[in-house]
Structure formats: structure tokens, C-alpha cells
Symmetry: C2
Subunit: 513 residues, 2 copies
């Protein structure tokens, strides 16, 4: 399957129908394809050679879709950039991947000079606004369509940088085959189809957003684009465009349910919601099931290195009664295309029920980390992707994520999985958001520390929350200390709670000076 040829198929089947919607603007499939082929022509005229990297720093919008298709059409490799990164981080990434072209959104125009100064190999900066010779519209208007170079198979499609919690960002090299595998695997389990109206509310620079963009376009669905996630805007877009499918990470779903507009919005068109990317507190999910009974929820587990999906928990397990109940805490079972095992530190499969590392084999596993052969070999040793996530598998292949291995707290002789403690905290009706981290301790190695945001107007004490946890989980797992915050917890570009930042803030307080 060629990812780019779906645009030819789109024009064959629905040339005049709406492909993309953003704000008050729309593009038909014929317009979208035409713009892609002309932008590809411009890339070639600007000297892009097959395999060259094209980076993009912008909020969600039409240009993100055009970038995803024009780049491979011209033979290039996409490098979507996390808009939350600092200048030095962006400069590191642009130089690391050797980007030749950068597409720059108007929101980030002020950063142009410093990026250009720091990146000598960057030949061209294309602006998404304005009218200059290197403005995107000028280029599309001024170039003829080029023929699709038909990149496919093991050809590189994308380098997507992941933050990691330590060290430099790593560029994950994903091939066309990787994204084809993800596309074909997620379509049936997430019940994607041609009649879908998909809301792209997650950042398109993130693997999840990028891969869903490709899957939704491959289905020839209608694509509604929001510049960024904002709960009220999401609810408004669902109502206005009769959105059917959405993807939300747990923090997004929580904020949507807590948004005042949620009470008055018409989301009757919404039939499907996929969630993933971090552990879903069961209390949040149960609340969503109760408040959104017409929505078929499905969980997806993965990571950038897996293009990104490896498991699914289908809608039928999102029930509180009957034979399929009791799976809500699971990230589901292996996708048809994935081989998954839970292994010990020697890469031996552990018995069902024992905690080990999730390891994945299959066509969705990345080619490696860009320019890092040793790290790639280590991560992919024995042919298996070592995810660094701790989990166990039950007798029916359901996988229960316990934590990122690096988020595991070691207290005394015990391992505490922060997700389990967060789940317990979320069971308390006053808790709106929470994060659990380990703080250094002389005797115990670490102690369990909780950072909590309460619902407005609620009051609960540290002692009451700890007592609440004691009723649900073992004493050694319960927080030793609870810190209350008024503001929402800081989120990463992928809308995961930034535990690294929280840990650093706490450490800074503990070590004065």
C-alpha cells in the first residue's frame, strides 16, 4: 500500500466532497490533492532530494496535512516539531536530522532568526502566512503538480523526536511500512470508515496525532482540525460538525468532563472515543461511561517507537456488568499485527500474572533511533522493541500496565507503581487531577509523594486522602506526603502529566540553593 496514492483514490471516489475543515475554511479532496502535488513540486524546485528532511513548527491546520503528503510525494521525510520545545532543543533537533526545509507557522515567527542562526544546514524557511516568495501560498500557486515519487516500504517517512525524561531528544525513524501497518491495524479495531467525521484536536506533531492523520486520510473520512486542544472548543466542534470519532488522552478526557460547557453541549453525533498515551484512572473512565452512554470507548497502548499502537481494548470491554466486565484497568490485548510478550531483565518471557517489561515485535516497530545505532541495537535487541513499560498479562492475554519502569518508585524493599496510587487517589470524589512521584529518602531510597488538584470548592486534608488510599491499596504504596495545587498540572506536548518537571520542582524545594 502506498500512503500517498490514497489521494489519487480520494479523487477517483469523492473529488468534490469535503476533505478538511478548519474554522470557517474547507478543502475538497481534489483541492487537497492539487495543493499537495504543487507544494511537492515547490519542494523539488527548492532542491529537495529523495530522503531529505522537511521539518514543521506550527499549530494544527491545513498546512499540517499538506506537509504530511507533499513531503513524501516529493520523496522527502517529515520531521514534525513539538511546539513546546525551547530554542536550544529545536536547534538540536534541526541539526541532528539535518533538515533542509522548515515550514514555520505564524505563531512561531518570532523564533525564526534564532533557529536560522543555529542551523547552518537549513536552506529554506517556508512561512505559512504572508505573501513573500517563500510563503506557502506563493509556492503552491507558482509550481506545477509533480508526479508522486511513490516512496513506500522501507523508505523513511518520518523522524519523530521523543522527549524522554533524561538526556537529548531521540529521533524515532519510522518507515512507510511502519505507518501502513499502524493504519491497517487501527482501522478495524477503532471502527474507522469513510463516513467518519474525525476531530483532530491532539497536536499533529505528536506520533499519535500524525498517525491518526494518516489513518483518517487513508479512510477518506472528513477531517475537522482544531489548532490545539481546548475543552470548550472541542465540544463546540463536535456539535457544529457532527463529529463521530475523537482521540483523547486521560488528562484531556478528564478536563472535557470537568468543563462547564460539557453540561449543555450536544455530542450526540459522537460514536467513538479512543484513549491512551498514559494510564487512564478507572474513576475518570467510569464517569465518562456514565456521562457519555452513546460513545464506544476503546483504549490504545503504544509509543512513538511503535508507530504508535500495539494493543487495543475494544468497546465491548467498556462495561461495568456482564461477562466482559472487569477489564477496564487493562490496556487490552495485542493488535492482530503485533506480537507482545512480558519479559524479565534477561528477556525471558515471565509467567502470566508476573510483572515484567512489555516487549513488542511486528511491522509497527521503528527502524531505529536516527543516527544512534548503539541505542537502536540496545532497544531492539533480539528483534524485540523494549518499551520500558512495566506490565503483567492475564490468562486471556489482557495486559495491565503498572507503570513506566522509570516512573516506578522504590521504597524500602518494595516497588510501587505510581499509576496504581494515582488510580486510588482518583477514586476520591474531591480529586480532579493527581500525579504520584518518588522523593529521595535516606532510609527508604524513595518515599511516595502525591501532588493533587481538587475540584473547585472542595476541601480534603492530606491525612484524609492518605486514609482514603489505605482503604484501597497496601500501606507501603500509600502516599507519605500530599501536596495540594490550585493550578492544573503541567502537561507535555503529548498531554501527559510532566512528572519529570514535578519531580524537579519538588527536588528544588528539598535542596535549597
Amino acid at each position: 500500500m502506498h500512503l500517498t496514492q490514497v489521494l489519487d483514490r480520494a479523487v477517483q471516489m469523492k473529488a468534490g466532497r469535503t476533505a478538511l475543515i478548519c474554522g470557517s475554511q474547507q478543502q475538497t479532496w481534489a483541492e487537497f490533492r492539487h495543493r499537495v502535488t504543487c507544494l511537492a513540486g515547490a519542494f523539488r524546485a527548492l532542491g529537495l532530494a529523495p530522503g531529505d528532511r522537511v521539518a514543521m513548527l506550527a499549530d494544527n491546520g491545513f498546512p499540517y496535512f499538506e506537509f504530511h503528503y507533499a513531503t513524501p510525494w516529493a520523496g522527502g521525510v517529515i520531521v514534525p516539531l513539538n511546539t513546546r520545545l525551547s530554542d536550544p532543543e529545536l536547534i538540536y533537533i534541526l541539526n541532528d536530522c539535518g533538515a533542509r526545509i522548515l515550514l514555520l507557522g505564524p505563531e512561531y515567527a518570532a523564533r525564526r532568526a534564532v533557529l536560522e542562526a543555529g542551523c547552518p544546514d537549513l536552506r529554506v524557511v517556508i512561512t505559512l502566512d504572508g505573501e513573500g516568495p517563500l510563503a506557502c501560498e506563493t509556492l503552491i500557486a507558482g509550481h506545477s503538480p509533480m508526479e508522486d515519487l511513490r516512496r513506500a516500504g522501507q523508505d523513511l517517512l518520518a523522524i519523530i523526536y521523543t522527549g524522554g525524561t533524561t538526556g537529548r531528544p531521540k529521533g524515532v525513524s519510522l518507515s512507510h511500512s511502519n505507518l501502513v501497518a499502524n493504519t491497517l491495524a487501527v482501522i478495524p479495531v477503532n471502527e474507522f470508515g469513510e463516513d467518519m467525521v474525525y476531530l483532530h484536536n491532539s497536536p499533529l506533531f505528536h506520533t499519535s496525532g500524525s498517525a491518526r492523520l494518516i489513518a483518517a486520510v487513508s479512510c477518506l473520512s472528513t477531517n475537522v482540525i482544531l489548532p490545539r486542544f481546548e475543552p470548550a472548543a472541542v465540544l463546540h466542534a463536535i456539535e457544529k460538525h457532527r463529529v463521530t470519532h475523537i482521540i483523547l488522552v486521560p488528562t484531556m478526557l478528564n478536563r472535557l468532563l470537568n468543563c462547564p460547557e460539557f453540561q449543555t453541549s450536544d455530542f450526540s453525533s459522537l460514536t467513538h472515543c479512543v484513549y491512551g498515551a498514559s494510564i487512564m484512572p478507572e474513576a475518570v473512565l467510569k464517569r465518562a461511561l456514565a456521562l457519555m452512554p452513546g460513545v464506544r470507548f476503546a483504549q490504545s497502548y503504544g509509543m512513538t517507537e511503535l508507530s504508535p499502537s500495539a494493543t487495543t481494548l475494544p468497546p465491548k470491554y467498556h462495561v461495568l456488568e456482564g461477562p466482559n466486565a472487569g477489564r477496564l484497568k487493562s490496556i487490552g490485548q495485542a493488535l492482530m499485527t503485533a506480537e507482545i510478550r512480558i519479559a524479565d531483565t534477561e528477556d525471558r518471557e515471565v509467567p502470566r500474572g508476573e510483572v515484567g517489561e512489555i516487549q513488542v515485535r511486528g511491522p509497527m516497530v521503528m527502524q531505529g533511533y536516527w543516527g544512534q545505532p548503539e541505542l537502536s541495537a540496545e532497544t531492539l535487541r533480539g528483534g524485540w522493541m523494549h518499551t520500558g513499560d512495566a506490565a503483567y498479562m492475564d490468562e486471556e492475554g489482557f495486559i495491565f500496565l503498572v507503570d513506566r519502569i522509570k516512573d516506578m518508585i522504590i521504597t524500602g524493599a518494595e516497588n510501587v507503581y505510581s499509576g496504581e496510587v494515582e488510580n486510588a487517589l482518583h477514586e476520591h470524589p474531591d480529586v480532579r487531577e493527581c500525579a504520584v512521584i518518588g522523593l529521595p529518602h535516606a532510609d527508604l531510597v524513595e518515599t511516595v509523594h502525591a501532588i493533587v488538584v481538587l475540584h473547585p470548592g472542595r476541601k480534603v486534608t492530606e491525612a484524609e486522602l492518605i486514609a482514603h488510599c489505605r482503604g484501597l491499596i497496601a500501606g507501603y504504596k500509600c502516599p507519605r506526603s500530599v501536596e495540594f495545587r490550585a493550578d492544573p498540572l503541567p502537561l507535555s506536548g503529548a498531554n501527559k502529566i510532566l512528572k519529570t518537571q514535578l519531580r524537579q520542582e519538588c527536588l528544588a524545594r528539598l535542596t535549597p540553593g
Copy 2:
């Protein structure tokens, strides 16, 4: 994706659940996988080297499933044999592919001596019954499981011989990638899933049966197997096993609807019916829609060289009213994985609405014809599979099959597509089955000849049927002659009406001696 690894996934997720049902016997997924790994071990012990061919001559049953998985597990290539072929044809195929091992069903035991005598390279004949040292059960019991050799990608999976209407059978070489592409493409459009109960009533030696076997096993569905197609047995199996999904070629569907047991059968479990392989008379389809309102019908078009599917007409177009009506005569649109064009004899795409040849590009296109590089290059010239089927495409990419190019009748200066005439004949309430062929004629090149089977007790004359056609299609397309038969028309192994045989019978009558 590894086609064989789905058995590991099956054991991970549902080891103790039923995988296969045939008559009164059942196999769990754990049993199925265990038998496959032991049979693979036996193949290796018998000297099978990676890439060696293993043939099978048998009716549908558990061994057909084991053959499909044990062969690639041991590194081999499957060669399913059409049970209707003559001894010389089978000998030609076994020698052409150089089969090392033959699995022989008890129904065909009498042909063993002549096949062995004719095939000096055939080392081992494994019998599916009995107790000798080379009986299948003895081999499975006597060998340990072997590790999966993990054949994948461009490794050859199957050589499937197609009759063709002239000349020797051609071996179609299909890779693992080819069948992965078909599996992943058909699952969403045919709404396959884990909870499916699939009835394998079509011959498993045919590509369609073989590819559906692989797709249904990949879904970990429950598989009900019938030794062969027989309308009453199909209805009985649907009722007994609560079958949800079935595939029927037009002649099968017609015979099912005409079967006396159809009136009294409970087929309420049946939710999905895929049809394809030859042109579906619209009258038959409309009757099916009326009589089976709970069934979601979908059409699939393809051929062995396409592994086999390239298009789909989804259930939503199987309606007689509303905006989706008017598509029943179409074979649908290109599958997501397929690129399809209608081209002239110079391989130039023709305008929408004009008749040309269906040409297909994509991961489902065969590697080529076994041992026939020139024929392969000709058939795959320019990177496109030349199907030999004549069709036109409308403005929304719906493809309308008009005929096999070789079944096209040339009469006077006009081309007549036999499918169109058959459609008109099927509109007559007395017509049960029909086939239209061209008979040689001195002036007109050919004349249109119809062979018709009437419903029991019905009477209609040749003149009346021709007059009926005149009310529906142009005069030059109407039959010049109609021949009535009492017996059902002869069918090929793929349950298509054998027009070649009908043509030969008519020619024999026309040219005495």
C-alpha cells in the same frame, strides 16, 4: 505481520476456546496450534527444506487448516489442488511446481497410484486417514513441535493454479505479503472480527476459500467447516452453529434461495454475506435482499492473481431506495490498499464511463506465474496487473464489470457482454439459471446463444424469453437462440458456470463428427 504468529496470539488470548468445528468434531486454539507445530516438525523430518512445495488434494476439513499453517511454519509453500481436475492435469501441476509432499484425502485415495507414477519428484504422500507410518495422525503424534521459521514478506506462501479457459493451468505465486495485504484489507470492509462465526463452505483449494481461511484465522474467529457446498447443509450449519459470516458466489446464493429448506431454516444469526467471483444477476441479489433483510451484503471483486480482492461494494449500497441506491450492478470501489484504473489496449487510462480493461496495482498483486517469466512480465507490464476483465468506472469510482474480455461476444460490428444478457434473462420470473455464450456465425462472426434452466414446473418458450430481453436491452444483444436444460448448469471448482464446457458442448453439436 507474520501470518503464522497469529497462532501464538490465539493461544495468548483464547487457548481453550473453540477454533475449528467440522461435523461433530472441534479443536481449540491450543490444540490447533499444537497440531500445526507437530505436523511442521514432521514435514521437516521428512526432508522439507525452506521453499519446498507441499500440495494437498482433499475436501474441506481440519487438515486443510493444518496444511495452511504447518507448511509455512516449516518454511514450505502450499499448493492447494482443485479436486475436480483430471489425473493428467494434477500430474502436470505436481510436476510443474515440483511438489515434494502431497497430503491426500480419503476421498481421493484411488488416484494415488497414478499420481505417484506420474510424479517422480514427489517424495512423500501423507494420507489424511488410516494408521500407517505416513498417516497424518501418526506423524502429528510422533513428532515434537518445531519453532516457527517465521517466513514473511516476499517469501513465497502459496502457488495456486488457475484453470484459464485455454492452455495449461498457470501457477499463481503469492507471497506472505500478498496474503497479509488481503487479510488487512478485507477485515474492515467485510466487518470481520473476533466474535465472528465463519462458515467455510467454499472449496479451500480455491484462492477465495484459502484467503478467507487465513483472514478468519487471523481474526481468531470461530471457524465452521463444511466438506463442500451443498445448500441444505449450509442452511443446517448456519442454524446449528449460529454462523454470522458467509461467502457465496452468485450461483451458490441462487441455489440457496431456491433450496426447499430455505423456507424453514433459521438463519437469524447470519449478519454478513460477501459475494463475488462472477457477475451477480441483479434479480438474484434483489431477491436475496428481500428474503434476508437482516443480512449485510457486500460484494468483492478479484481473482487469484490479486490474492484475491481488489474492490468492495459495502453493505450501505445494498439498498433499493435513498441516496445510496443504484449501485447494485457495481462491483464497488477500489479497496484502500488497491490502485485501480480502467485502461485501453495501449494501457492509457480511459475517461470515466468508457469500457476498458481493469488494471490493478498494489501489495495484493501476485509475484507472477510460477516458472513463466514471459507471461508474468506481459501480465504485469508497466507495474499493473492486467485482469482481462472489461469494465467502466463512474464519476465516484464505482466500477461496473461488463464481462471477462474473453467472454465478450462479437456479433456484427457490436460487442455484447454476456453478463448483461444474463442479467436480462434473470429478470424473468421463470428463469432459475442461465449462461450466455457466443456461437460461430459466417456473417456475424458470432451470435448470442442462451442456455437456460427454468424453475420446476414453469414453462416459457424461446420466443417469449427473447421478447422479454427485447424489453430490457438492445436488439443486437438479445439471444438469437435459447436452449433449455433440465439439469443445473456445470460449475467450475470456484462454482462459476463453466462457459468453456458449455461452449464446447454447443460446438460439438454444431460440427458433427
